[in-house]
Symmetry: C2
C-alpha cells in the first residue's frame, strides 16, 4: 500500500471512534470536515517514511504503532488549523479550497472540534500503552506528541507567540513549526526501535524550510492554488521571515535548508528512498513558495 | 497533608512545566490565571478521596499516580471552563469573581490556553507509562482521561450538544458532566489497584447531582456567591433540567440523587470517610443550588 493511502485509511479508522454514536451529528460532520479532504499530509508521511526506511513496513509488528503516531500528528495539525482559522486568529473563510470549519459549522463547534482532535491525537497511541512489550515505546511516543502539541515548545505555545507584544522569533518558529516536524521523524524512528535523537535535526531543518516556504507563500503565493488566503501575516502584522530577508534572500535560504535536511538523514537501510521523499517535499515547497513577484534569478539562486 | 493542599501543590508542580521558558510570557500568565485560584476542585478531590479510602495515602508508592490523575482531570476541567466562557459560547466576563481568561488576556490566547491545558492533562500521566511496573496502569488512566475529555462521550462532545439543533438530553448530561465524575472515581480506584467498574455508579450519580445543582443555580442562584453569571441557560436557550422539572421537583431529585451516590460507594477500608466527603459535596451543592425563589418546603423535601 502506498504511504498516502495508508495515511487516509488510518485517519479514517481513528476518526470513526470519535464520530461514533452518541456523538452529536452536527459535531461529527464538523470533525470529519476538519480532517477530510486533507492537505499534503506531510507530517504523517514523514513518520511513515522514516519508519519504512528503518524497516517498518507491511507485515512488521510495529507498523500499527507507526501508523498511530502518524495519525496523532495529523490530528494535531488539523486541530491547529481549525483553531488558527478562527475569527480571533486568522479569520480565514476558506482552506484547501473549502469553507473553514467555523464558517461551515459555527465558531463554537470549531473550538470544540479542535479540542476533540487534540484529545483524539493522544487516543491514537494510548491503547498501545496497554499492550505487552510496547508500553514504554508507546509512552515515549506519547511524550513526543505532548511536547509537540502543548506548552512551552509545542504548537499551542507557537501560536501564542503571535499574540505577544514582543516576539522571540527562534522560539516562535521552533514551537509553531519545527516541533511537529521533529516529532514526525522521531516518532517514525521510535516506532522502528531506533534512537530518536539522531533524527531530530532532519525534522528541525524541514520545519525551518517549511516555515520559510510558508512565509514566502503568504507574501505572494497563489491563493487559489494554495487553497487558503495569502498575505495574512502582513494583514495581522505577524512575524514573517520573508518580509525580513526579502524574497530572493528567503528563497536562497529555503534551498540551502532543504539540502541540509537531506544531508542530515542518518545512515539506514532505506536512506535513498527517504532522501528522495524529502527532496519531493522540497520541490513542492519551492513551488508553493514561489511568489508572483519573485525574479527568475531568485528562483534558481 | 490535607487533600485540598495536596491538589494545589500538585497543580502548581504540573503547571510549572507548561509555563517554563521558552513559554511566551503573556501566555504563561493566562495559563496560570486559568487554573489559579481554583473553584471547588471537586473532581481532583474525588480522585484523591477514593484513592485514600482504598489505602493510597502519604508514603504509598502509587500516591504520585493518584495525584497526577487528579491534576489531569482538573486541568481538563479548567480548559473546558476557559473555552465555555468564550464569546462564541457563554460570553462570560467573569468567573470565580475574576475576569475570565479571554476578558483579561484576549480571545485567541484563551483558545490556546484551553488547548495547552488539554495537552497538559495527558502530560501529567504520560511519564508513568515509562515507569517499570506502572505502564499498563498509567495507560488505563490515560484512556479514562481521553474518554472523559473528547468525543463521543467526553466534555468536548457534551459542550457540542449545546449547539445542535436537536438535543439528546441523556447523552448531553452524560458527556458534559457525568463523564468527568465517573472518570474521577475510576482514576482514584485504578491508582489504588481496584477494579474501576464498581466505582463508576458513584461518579455517575454525583455527576447527575452536579448537573441538577448547576441547572438550579443557573435558574436563580446568587451570581456574586457563585462567582459566575447566572441565567445563562435561558439566555442562550440551552437545555436545563430545572426548567423542565420546576424548582421544587429539581431540588427533590437532587437530594435523592445525592443519597443514591452515597449508597453506591463500594465496601472499602475508608468507606465512612469517603461517604462523609460525598455528603459534604452534596451539602455544598444544595447551598449553591438554592434558588432565590425556592420555597422553604422545597428545600427540605
Amino acid at each position: 500500500m502506498k504511504i498516502r493511502e495508508r495515511i487516509e485509511l488510518t485517519l479514517t479508522n481513528h476518526l470513526k471512534r470519535l464520530v461514533q454514536k452518541p456523538c452529536p451529528p452536527h459535531f461529527a460532520a464538523a470533525i470529519e470536515a476538519a480532517v477530510f479532504p486533507g492537505g499534503g499530509r506531510v507530517r504523517p508521511m514523514l513518520v511513515l517514511a522514516v519508519a519504512r526506511a528503518l524497516g517498518v513496513d507491511e507485515g512488521h509488528p510495529h507498523l500499527a504503532l507507526a501508523e498511530s503516531g502518524a495519525a496523532a500528528l495529523e490530528l494535531l495539525h488539523c486541530a491547529s488549523l481549525v483553531h488558527d482559522d478562527l475569527p480571533c486568529f486568522d479569520d480565514a473563510t476558506y482552506r484547501r479550497g473549502l469553507p473553514t470549519v467555523h464558517t461551515a459549522y459555527g465558531e463554537s463547534t470549531a473550538v470544540l472540534v479542535g479540542d476533540a482532535l487534540i484529545v483524539g491525537a493522544f487516543q491514537s497511541l494510548i491503547p498501545f500503552t496497554m499492550q505487552s512489550g510496547r508500553e514504554a515505546l508507546a509512552g515515549r511516543m506519547l511524550a513526543i506528541v505532548g511536547d509537540a502539541a502543548g506548552s512551552p515548545r509545542g504548537i499551542a505555545a507557537g501560536q501564542a507567540w503571535e499574540t505577544e507584544s514582543s516576539v522571540d522569533l527562534v522560539a516562535y518558529h521552533d514551537a509553531k513549526t519545527a516541533s511537529m516536524f521533529e516529532a514526525a521523524v522521531m516518532l517514525g524512528a521510535l516506532a522502528a526501535g531506533d534512537a530518536p535523537g539522531q533524527w531530530r535535526p532532519v525534522g528541525r531543518l524541514l520545519g525551518e524550510a517549511y516555515q520559510i516556504a510558508d512565509d514566502l507563500a503568504d507574501l505572494g503565493g497563489d491563493a487559489e492554488w494554495l487553497g487558503k488566503p495569502v498575505r495574512q501575516d502582513a494583514r495581522n502584522d505577524r512575524p514573517n521571515a520573508a518580509r525580513h530577508l526579502g524574497v530572493n534572500g528567503a528563497t536562497l535560504r529555503l534551498r540551502r535548508t532543504l539540502a541540509a535536511a537531506c544531508e542530515a538523514v542518518p545512515d539506514c537501510p532505506g536512506r535513498d528512498g527517504l532522501v528522495e521523499l524529502v527532496n519531493g517535499i522540497g520541490m513542492r515547497l519551492l513551488t508553493v513558495a514561489a511568489p508572483a513577484e519573485a525574479t527568475p534569478d531568485a528562483a534558481v539562486a
